[in-house]
Symmetry: C2
């Protein structure tokens, strides 16, 4: 009898789980359940439709219906999973027509993702208070711009907040970003590196109000201003980019254990504590490669890797998820910023003895026109000289350097190794001495 | 007594040796000898001055005279080393005024580089027959263009030949490149990857005549045409980019052993077989990281790494050169091409059992406008699943991927590791599934 695989969620993690299971098991009955109208679209692309870089929201559909048909995946959109019964091995769903159905499973994958978390701010029910998580959210922001919004306050200076801030700025809106932490991108960068990015944003007329929370959203029915740090800021839109929270209600109700990050606990096989139930993507807690502590990084790349691991195991081939370095990158106007492994801040918090080195360099040979600045920071474990984290801010060529340093961390490269690395060079693309190598050399000097 | 360090050669390798020695030994007397008028310039930048991307040759001077003064390096330009006496530990030099001097050394570094090799083609003494190795060579080509040259034949489709071909094409010359091998970039790429680059060059009107040698250079005093493959090609310039040969005459005359690559034999400390004599850069033979065979890669990055190793050892701190992966990259019009480790061709020649995987992808998310094509080829050792080579051709973001794969090879990453790598992603810069990871996955499937 073919096994019945049910996946709750039909975006990055869920679809990857379905696809990977299908590759190993040609006969399984695979069903994907999603409450959304559209499955398989890229959330990460939303800010770029709003900015106009991508022409329309439909372009974000990475997996067309033909994909599901080709792989014989039974996709059920606008269908809400309302309960999991781990004893009977069934899930209960409700269709758009409010019909209740019981669906049995042999293997269940929870890929319920995360939702925007809106702190309980006074006035948050007003018109003009928006999120950016789903296609629907994106379309609402787009509509507000088309309706003539001239200014926006964004709460949260994480990736989504900043990428959306840039998009709104490019659309001509006056943008102020309010962040409770004393720096932008607190998950991604240390304060010294974040400051470079902040300066770039401010040069482009994005205001950053740090170390402050939004206290109240003012206006009649519609947002007219917000109060933050004791001041009033006029704004047509208030956008909540405070962060997302793993969608765990279904799991909690079913008795599936939740971890300390408030996401669903998993092991290296992406199994939850309950037999035959997996969790992947933004709702799943996993382990950090360096700290070995629980983490729920809520990144697309981690989601697909977890989905693949779960799907491969369900398909009958043993596969382990190797942990999270949380390699991340973003582009904001003319600057790219990225990181991998742990920051200085996280190292200190975890009482890991470190040495830090930072170099300023250029993205091309010094004498080559249009070379852009590049700053690299390495975090090195003092005890072993291993590279354990890296941050880069620069005008170009940041992403693949982050990948290079991620590989280095994964393979336990010491800065002694890195200082001797064999790198490629050509004047239009880099310096003779690769800045990553120079940063390793500088770390070595500090270690002596 | 301070030690006397003498370095023959004052470009990448020589200056790096001098600088590294100085860092470890504050009192040494360090002398650099060069027959050239200018020291410390970037040869790799020459094609970009000819193309006009860089405004003048002077911009290529990476180390101004102030640098030598600051580090107290005694720089002697237009001074030719004519003999080494390894018993007396002296070298003999001749100044521009033809004065002969004997200079004693405690440690000697031979960084004599390489010169263009001109095969014995009939007619090679004619006006309009040029090389591209030194600043002088660059200025001659520049002058020929300014004098109205309309067409050029370049012998050799290596890095210099192609980069110069692009430069001349951008200056409006009709360019034909003749190459004896049946493909372009034979040192860098396998034929399948090289073909992509060739097509790009041909679309820009550079002719490639492969599998043919130049048989004769025709014309009265001046080049008017060349004969190749039985045909006659009209040309105002004939440029020899056949390759370079290590300058070893001084070493040979002094009885310093030469290796099978016809460069000076060295060990991991960059010592020659003679006590207190080192060789670095384009004149030095070293060991390949994968094949463990002698190699003389004649790359700027290798030169500086070797110079640093020799200088550090001379300065009294033990340092080993870890071998060559020959990571290389070039930009030709709108395409970047690079490689690291060994090619399929070299693996087969060395009877290494391999699996090869190739993926086509894009440089941005598929839905993001202006994504450019990217092709990655991995060479994997069958016995151990280790990555041992990689080649990439793409519209952008090639260089740092080559570095990433170089780190992977250095740290003995298997494709099983690489298929699980934690990579960074953002729609304007890359795909969710990094193409390097997909290529590893494909290699894994072939290994099963």
């Amino acid at each position: 009898m073919p096994q019945k695989i049910v996946i709750i969620g039909a975006n990055a993690a869920g679809i990857e789980a379905a696809s990977s299971a299908r590759k190993k098991d040609r006969t399984a009955e695979i069903t994907l359940i999603t409450k959304e109208k559209t499955a398989g679209y890229s959330r990460c692309g939303l800010p770029f439709v709003i900015s106009g870089a991508i022409s329309h929201f439909k372009a974000l559909t990475v997996y067309p219906l033909a994909y599901f048909q080709m792989l014989k995946l039974n996709l059920r959109t606008q269908t809400t999973a309302i309960a999991i019964n781990i004893k009977e091995k069934t899930i209960t769903v409700q269709t758009l027509e409010r019909i209740i159905e019981i669906i049995p499973y042999d293997k269940l994958v929870i890929a319920t993702g995360a939702d925007s978390f809106m702190p309980p701010i006074k006035g948050r029910e007003k018109h003009g208070v928006l999120n950016l998580r789903s296609l629907d959210d994106g379309e609402k922001i787009d509509a507000a711009i088309k309706a003539g919004a001239k200014s926006a306050i964004i709460m949260g200076a994480g990736l989504i907040g900043l990428e959306l801030g840039v998009a709104l700025n490019e659309k001509g809106l006056q943008v102020t970003i309010v962040e409770m932490q004393p720096q932008i991108l607190p998950q991604l960068l240390d304060a010294d590196m974040a400051k470079l990015v902040q300066t770039h944003l401010e040069q482009r007329d994005i205001k950053c109000l740090l170390g402050n929370a939004v206290e109240e959203i003012l206006g009649e029915e519609k947002v007219s201003s917000i109060k933050a740090g004791g001041e009033n800021f006029m704004a047509d839109l208030y956008i909540n980019a405070f962060g997302v929270r793993a969608n765990t209600q279904l799991a909690v109700d079913a008795g599936i254990p939740i971890g300390e990050t408030r996401a669903i606990k998993t092991n290296a096989y992406m199994e939850t504590a309950i037999a035959d139930v997996y969790a992947v993507g933004d709702c799943a807690e996993t382990t950090h490669f360096i700290t070995h502590k629980p983490i729920c990084p809520q990144l697309g790349t981690v989601a697909v890797r977890q989905g693949k691991t779960a799907g491969t195991n369900i398909g009958g081939v043993n596969s382990q998820f190797t942990g999270v370095l949380a390699s991340t990158v973003t582009k904001l106007f003319d600057i790219e910023a990225g990181s991998t492994g742990i920051s200085e801040t996280v190292a200190v918090k975890n009482q890991i003895g470190i040495v830090v080195s930072t170099v300023n360099s250029k993205t091309k040979a010094g004498y080559y026109p249009s070379a852009k600045p590049l700053r690299i920071k390495l975090v090195v474990k003092k005890e072993t000289e291993h590279l354990i984290g890296a941050q880069i801010v620069g005008g170009e060529e940041v992403t693949q350097r982050i990948n290079a340093l991620s590989f280095a961390i994964q393979k336990q490269m010491t800065v002694r190794d890195l200082a001797k690395a064999d790198t490629a060079y050509a004047p239009p693309m880099c310096e003779t001495w690769e800045p990553m190598v120079l940063a390793a050399e500088m770390a070595l000097m500090k270690l002596r």
